[in-house]
């Protein structure tokens, strides 16, 4: 995390983000870039920024990928449709149909031998040796198949050199050391993070100032959106009116499980 950049006023931060996006276009070419959009506040802000840059440069938008991990809020799907129309976007919805065809709901059992070769190989890669697992998009296995693998496949199939995402330094501990351009392997590509320096407050300030569409879930009290079955409201107030300092942004996200795993690790059980 760069403290000087974090301390910049909002307009300077927006400029900085646009610079990063422009640099990515120069480096990789618009055709070889994809933008990851979840329908959440950060990636919607990101998409707005990319769109602004494209308008300035008078070029078409890069590929936009929406990851459907199989447990999406209806409100998110509706929001994505609405923004698609409003901004006239071409969005590719990616999902792991091979896993989803075995399940109707979260918790249903997925049998490994019924999966295709690609998914079975991916499970091998992460060391999963079981014969079956319950379908949970945010579990270790679920997250890998439902998010990581579909993104990998999209990047491979489209020959993408870069993927732009909306991660932020202040969102969670694990992201503090992220950089604007971060190389990844399998497949080799660069992750581009134009809004790293936005705080949660900055995100809402920008969204309100520039009238960027807001997913209605945030108004109901959600602060951070994940899979439907594991995401909770953190308060009944709209996200932007909540106490950012007191309640962590990701407090409503699959919290029990993360805490249990952390405790078991601390106690030496794993």
């Amino acid at each position: 995390m760069d403290k000087e950049i974090m301390a910049l006023p909002l307009e300077k931060k927006i400029e900085k983000s646009k610079e990063i996006i422009k640099k990515a276009f120069e480096k990789f070419g618009r055709e070889k870039i994809a933008v990851a959009w979840t329908g959440g506040k950060d990636s919607t802000l990101l998409l707005w920024l990319v769109r602004e840059v494209c308008k300035e440069l008078n070029i078409d938008l890069p590929k936009i990928m929406f990851i459907d991990e199989g447990d999406v809020f209806e409100e998110v799907l509706e929001f994505v449709e609405k923004v698609k129309k409003k901004w006239n976007l071409d969005v590719v919805r990616v999902r792991n149909d091979d896993v989803l065809k075995q399940v109707n709901k979260v918790g249903d059992i997925v049998k490994v031998d019924l999966l295709n070769e690609r998914n079975r190989k991916e499970l091998e890669k992460i060391g999963f040796k079981g014969k079956e697992f319950p379908f949970e998009p945010e579990s270790y296995v679920g997250n890998h198949l439902m998010k990581t693998v579909v993104v990998k496949m999209f990047l491979e199939e489209n020959g993408c050199k870069a993927l732009i995402t909306g991660v932020r330094w202040d969102e969670q501990e694990a992201r503090v050391n992220e950089t604007y351009f971060s190389p990844r392997s399998d497949p080799d590509h660069i992750r581009v993070h134009p809004i790293l320096h936005f705080t949660e407050r900055n995100v809402w300030e920008t969204i309100h100032k520039y009238k960027i569409p807001i997913n209605p879930l945030y108004e109901k009290g959600y602060r951070s959106l994940g899979a439907k079955s594991t995401t909770r409201k953190t308060d009944d107030k709209p996200a932007w009116e909540q106490d950012f300092e007191k309640i962590p942004e990701r407090a409503g996200r699959g919290q029990d499980k993360e805490k249990i795993m952390e405790r078991l690790r601390e106690l030496g059980y794993m």
Binding site: F128, S139, K259, I260, R263, L264, E266, Y269, M270
Partner: protein
């Protein structure tokens, strides 16, 4: 019938301190005490699972809280527990906090454990024990199910982290007080542990690494578990026998 489980309780601490543990003493005088020398490995998830399913570890196949990077859930263990069978026969049963999974398992009880049933700090551990006792007492007083099973898990944590320190006896005193509050509600009682405890370096089996992020592990599991029964005729020799003792009383011939 009332079954009180105490994770990691050992005679090595209880016997020399019976004057300070008056409810243990009272129960031993009114009933029978014995030692269960486990024939299975003293792993908590596995032993508690055996105790209430009547199955050996080879039969139920459950050993760890986490498997393949996933928290193991009740549904992942393909057995019928005694409470499932009792419920089917229309016998009222409630279960609070059996630690074969995390958070500990409840049946017909709505209860959230302190720190998801994994309390570590002394304050958390005390609060965990207190809130379990309060809930258990409320159930026994107001609803009085035919069979009630409650397990205290935090002693195990205290013994792992503080074996040899005064806090261990303090914890036993807390559980003794809890016993006093609960045993008056039933005449048929089983008090049992899933394994005993001893010095880490003398433990015949290591269930945890010596060093953990929460500090050095000072105690570990011993295969001698405790048993106190009152008005229970079925002979309990191994954890699985608890299942059969309950079954014999309530599900005879079925």
């Amino acid at each position: 019938m009332l079954v009180i489980g105490i994770d990691g309780a050992t005679w090595d601490i209880i016997e020399p301190n019976l004057d300070k543990l008056k409810n243990f003493k009272k129960l031993i005088q009114e009933g029978n005490k014995s030692t269960i020398n486990l024939s299975q490995k003293p792993w908590s998830p596995s032993v508690w699972c055996s105790m209430f399913s009547g199955k050996t570890p080879e039969e139920h196949g459950h050993k760890d809280f986490v498997k393949n990077g996933e928290i193991v859930r009740r549904e992942d263990i393909k057995v019928e527990f005694i409470w499932d069978l009792l419920q089917k026969k229309g016998i009222s049963v409630k279960v609070l906090g059996v630690p074969f999974v995390v958070p500990p398992y409840n049946f017909n009880v709505d209860f959230e454990f302190v720190a998801n049933g994994l309390p570590v700090e002394i304050e958390e551990i005390k609060k965990d024990t207190e809130t379990i006792t309060e809930k258990a007492e409320e159930i026994l007083k107001k609803e009085k199910p035919e069979v009630f099973i409650v397990v205290y898990t935090a002693l195990d944590r205290v013994c792992h982290l503080h074996w040899g320190e005064p806090i261990v006896l303090e914890m036993y005193k807390m559980i003794d007080e809890a016993l006093g509050r609960l045993i008056k509600y039933d005449e048929e009682i089983i008090v049992i542990s899933d394994h005993g405890f001893c010095d880490y370096d003398k433990a015949p089996i290591r269930t945890l690494p010596k060093r953990t992020p929460k500090g050095e592990i000072k105690g570990d599991h011993h295969p001698d578990a405790i048993l106190i029964t009152k008005n229970i005729s079925y002979p309990i020799k191994q954890p699985e026998d608890v299942f059969f003792a309950i079954k014999e009383k309530y599900l005879k011939g079925g």
